[in-house]
Symmetry: C2
Subunit: 268 residues, 2 copies
């Protein structure tokens, strides 16, 4: 294992790029290989069985690039398939659920935490389990928001219709008097300002991607795997469909050109 | 070939059930085998290359059930992959584009036709090409409505947010003074009342699924393939993921119980 090897990151599509942005902020010299399964996005409404099959195929693609660790930048996969990725990869694997749960427990004073995510993530109860593992006295309130992913993908970031949908989704959580809200889907940071309008101003939002980047940094330092280079990192992007669209939208996510995005075929 | 053999119908997911409903109305004694690729839905935002791969795999599943003809109940596949299905199937294949185009040309007086559909369907220009093949003097105005599929799938059928989104999508078509609007996606009939509110009252809406059922009936009669049985037909439903959700939503589509919905694995 060499420190110059890349961090592998995968997601069902473009959402994981919010995690890449956070990684580049915390670890500006790490090489990164990203795979987005844009041919089969979204994973959120799919069954755990299918998500586990796809997660294994995504893992294979990153392993082909000889990565030193894997970041599962997809809440749905982190919720229902982290074990299959860990078992296959035999290198360090970090999902986004545990870091998000830890950050939320640290911040919440009232011990009332809301979690929003895809149908798959919320149905899995993965955040509730993770939070209770840290502090069993915390009350956790989950709310699936299935339209947020297509709204973010289509760029309806700051629109009256999106506001109405956000208000309807988040209203039950406001009734529960939460003081902390976990954005349990990597797409949701894109809708930050619209989500903020739908919740009371005192509620703190937790971006799981940012929390995950901090944990990745700790792990690399602890394992002696941090890249000591001071050069500009090598970023490589692979998708299973529509590389041009990914390059265009990804540029908005990162605020920088992505270079060539390559299409790879997944098994299916 | 026997008349008792089923009509095969496939779609990217649940949307094709509006075509099944129309088929059952026009041809109440035909056996039907339906496949919905719910593991990989939606097809609309995917590249033609990927849609063609998936269409071929969907075709294989229907052929295993020894169907007498295939109805491609998905506008995106009909727009970009009908040729690959026809080439592989070697039995009659009918897509939804040509029947919808024919119905629209017959009805439009002002020869100004709007077409709404997925990004893939509209980008393909398949409706424009089909309409111009019938009457080159017709003006055709296409408009992609990518959020309509998730809104329909999630049941936001009659909601203020859906109205706002519909108005924004359809406004450019109202400026073009269309008198006919083709619902170029099998999901859209579910949003009929909301779409109707977003267009002037004089505009006639064409449901491609209904137009397709009429063409299927003609074809079966012409080829001597119509099922002469007067028994209740045998309906079989297969999906690539979430059979229970399909059974539940499908019941709403058909207004009748679906019986057992079986999960099959597609190549991938």
């Amino acid at each position: 294992m060499s420190n110059e090897q890349a961090i592998g990151v995968f997601d069902s599509g473009i959402g994981g790029m919010t995690v890449v942005r956070a990684l580049l902020q915390d670890l500006p010299h790490e090489n990164i290989v990203y795979f987005g399964d844009t041919a089969r996005v979204p994973y959120g409404p799919k069954s755990p069985q299918v998500v586990r099959e796809y997660a294994l195929q995504d893992t294979e693609i990153l392993l082909q690039h000889n990565v030193k660790m894997i970041v599962v930048a997809c809440n749905t996969v982190s919720a229902v398939a982290l074990d299959v990725v860990q078992k296959r990869a035999k290198i360090p694997v970090i999902g986004v659920i545990l870091p998000g749960a830890e950050a939320a427990v640290q911040i919440s004073r009232k011990k009332r935490i809301g979690v929003i995510g895809t149908v798959g993530t919320i149905a899995s109860n993965a955040y509730t389990t993770a939070i209770h593992h840290i502090d069993a006295s915390v009350k956790v309130f989950g709310q699936p928001c299935p339209l947020f992913v297509p709204l973010a993908e289509e760029g309806w970031i700051d629109h009256k219709a999106t506001e109405l949908i956000a208000k309807e989704y988040l209203f039950p959580l406001t009734l529960e008097k939460i003081d902390t809200l976990v954005l349990g889907c990597t797409h949701y940071p894109l809708l930050l300002s619209t989500i903020a309008k739908a919740i009371p101003s005192g509620v703190t939002m937790i971006d799981s991607g940012k929390a995950t980047a901090a944990v990745v940094k700790q792990l690399l330092e602890k394992e002696g795997l941090k890249n000591d280079s001071t050069l500009k990192p090598n970023l490589q992007f692979f998708v299973s469909d529509l590389p041009h669209k990914f390059a265009e939208v990804g540029e908005r996510f990162l605020g920088t050109k992505l270079g060539r995005v390559q299409r790879v075929t997944v098994n299916g």
